[in-house]
Symmetry: C4
Subunit: 250 residues, 4 copies
């Protein structure tokens, strides 16, 4: 048993494993740079206004485009998580070992903090924005909302990584990014549409306010875990053959 | 004959069939969450204004991105309908059996109602928006418009699911979503650009107003049926070989 | 000789050829419906204002999304022209015969007129917008601009239809649409960014003003022809092997 | 040694090499036409206002869409650089020879100048915009920011050109374009989000102001070189097998 644990840790420190952590670090860094950067960019252009439809589009498109791209670059190296909630779901489902998942988390959180730090240092005088919750919502409601959105995201990730997708697998990273963008458009003015605890953590650490931080961890982690288990065990289990409409459609 | 009907019902209740209904439920839930959510999000940001170009972009992009993504996730399981009009066209064309189509409808309608209910409960105080028709238009005109748009959508779905597409099939779900987004940009201020009776039904059920509901069923169902029959029997029948320009281009 | 011409006309009236004309008709109809519809939609939302950045985004995204999608649906049937300028370039380059090209033109022009007519009839009271030229520009300048943009578009079409593209061919229709959208963003406030004589003709016929119509034909047809000849004969001739950097990159 | 240099120059002047330079010229011309054109278009619509969120979306989407498309068209011919910083990274990494890289640079710079010249001549009275730096930022800070963004871009290019990507390679050019668009959204109001020295050079040459030109060369070239070396030697070296999570995911 102890031997087993030691083995797993050794596997987590091979050269390939280290490359995976680096790939997660790079992709998460790029993602947070674009997402938090676009938030600062929108705020710079509309300093006295709160969020409006045009700035929501700025942030949502940045999210969709950046996520598509960074998942693509990490896809064949680390699996393209870029998000502690996704890593959590993968660990729960047994797709990555617990030690590996921990190293992924560390890489993602450090990357996010460093991306926010870079933005803070370069864009002198600009405040790093943290995710905020609409006045009429409770923290519980916001966490439930973020949980639902992360559920959607992780379900899409599982579908996109499914090797049974055939030719569709070419567009996997892109559709995950598109889903994230749509979710930001739906939830932006209410809970911010983070769906990514690393992003929330980094902006909070550099922005200097950990208020409501739990909101962006509890809901997403739960939503992610449920989505992964549901996909693997009910919607498309390994033993499943094709669906009812396959071969019937056009 | 009775035996045949029983058989078909049995086929509709196999494990694979049940997985298909679940996949339809999940994808429709995700789609309605993003589309109706983005409508509420736009309204939250512009409470006193009617639709403007920026909010139209918010809703249209959410539609395009979410539809691309949810079709992708359901593509190999249920065939990726996510829309009673598409299921109707598939049943008319003989691609799914009538009992299966009925179960698809049930799954889609329940998913839509539940997505709107979730939004209503989480986003306390926000009204779930229903599709509305521009003042100068009649309900008949709006239904014709929605019918044309659904015709376009279903024609695109048939093209994307055609196994003769070869390498292009990788981008099938994405182009369907893009077409839906373009249609919303064209019809948003006139009839809302629903093209999906489930979406209209869910928002009406939770929003509390079934006014004009028929508009979003009659036109789309007719348009969908015509599109499917046209594609299957005239534009690209099973017996057709390639087109006139194939092999001639570059 | 006469025999040859007769033969070619017969080839243009086979069942497959007729399906191609129908596919061109459908795709052009869908494209014009979305593009002109989005222009009317933008005008409805901002009746007293001229074009502004948000309405430009509405029109450009509708163009990009719709073109990607309609090219996809017609790709394997008619070759996916949807544009008399592209058909012209294909005929000049010998990829389609002259009679076929003429039937394509007829299908495209009728489709465009009918799409505008449908919009006019359904959206009662709304004027069908025609392409206009910025005050400070001459018609000649606008035609040169449209010619450059159509050159870009047709060059991209030739690249996307090149069978030597390998796996990239899966995204061919999408990148053509994206290029069209980018061009509309660049030229919208100056010459409208039509790049498609059929679209200009249809909106002029129903909008009731053929003013500057030549602008949207002369430049685009010339630009298209030059682009096709350049691609076929200089940039990537049939005899060419791969480029200097192939096999050298990563 | 001298012989070797002569050989390399000869290789840079073969027919295939010349086609590559032409492909770089065309794609860079198209890209700059769309990007600088969209900047002029936005300025035309908002002459008295500085950048606002809607015009940022105009420029960012034009960048994303155009880059995806022009990389696609040049991908199999010249390798699809369209950017002196990418060519620089490829030369540093040994993927193109130094003479070839020099010819690429010449083609890219001439293309950019000509595209800006065309815009200046056609759009009479409009000023060609040059990249500007936000008041509160230093030139050094802007160059660091541009360097980071170019790092992200070039890292994505290396990932997309990696032949080990398998089916994902179909979407390579698209995800590079999306990343560029996200970066423009993040950096637009601060340093302009050029990431491309050719684009900055062309607009400066025709706009008539080389102020801060070094900002758009030093940072991007350094960032590009580091990204290429990092990807090739550390993240995904040629000797590397698959990552830790491959075969473990769903």
């Amino acid at each position: 048993m102890a031997n087993n644990v030691t083995n797993r840790f050794h596997q987590s420190l091979t050269r390939n494993a280290l490359r995976s952590y680096l790939a997660e670090f790079m992709s998460t860094f790029f993602y947070v740079l674009a997402v938090v950067g676009s938030g600062m960019s929108a705020r710079k252009l509309m300093p006295d206004a709160t969020l409006n439809p045009a700035t929501l589009v700025v942030v949502a498109i940045a999210n969709a485009f950046a996520l598509s791209s960074v998942l693509y670059t990490a896809w064949d190296i680390s699996g393209g998580h870029v998000n502690p909630a996704i890593t959590f779901a993968m660990a729960i489902g047994g797709h990555v070992s617990v030690p590996t998942a921990l190293f992924y988390w560390v890489a993602q959180l450090i990357a996010s903090v460093m991306a926010c730090l870079v933005l803070r240092v370069i864009l002198v005088g600009m405040h790093v924005p943290t995710y905020t919750i609409a006045e009429e919502m409770t923290g519980f409601g916001a966490s439930v909302l973020e949980g639902f959105l992360t559920f959607v995201l992780v379900y899409t990730v599982y579908a996109a990584r499914d090797p049974r997708r055939g030719p569709l697998s070419a567009t996997g990273p892109v559709v995950i990014g598109l889903m994230a963008g749509a979710n930001v458009l739906a939830a932006g003015p209410f809970s911010g549409g983070s769906m990514n605890p690393a992003c929330a953590f980094g902006s909070a650490a550099i922005g200097g306010s950990f208020r409501n931080q739990a909101v962006y961890w509890v809901g997403p982690l739960l939503g992610a875990a449920v989505a992964g288990l549901l996909y693997d065990n009910v919607v498309f289990p390994v033993t499943a053959t094709t669906g009812v409409s396959d071969g019937l459609t056009v």
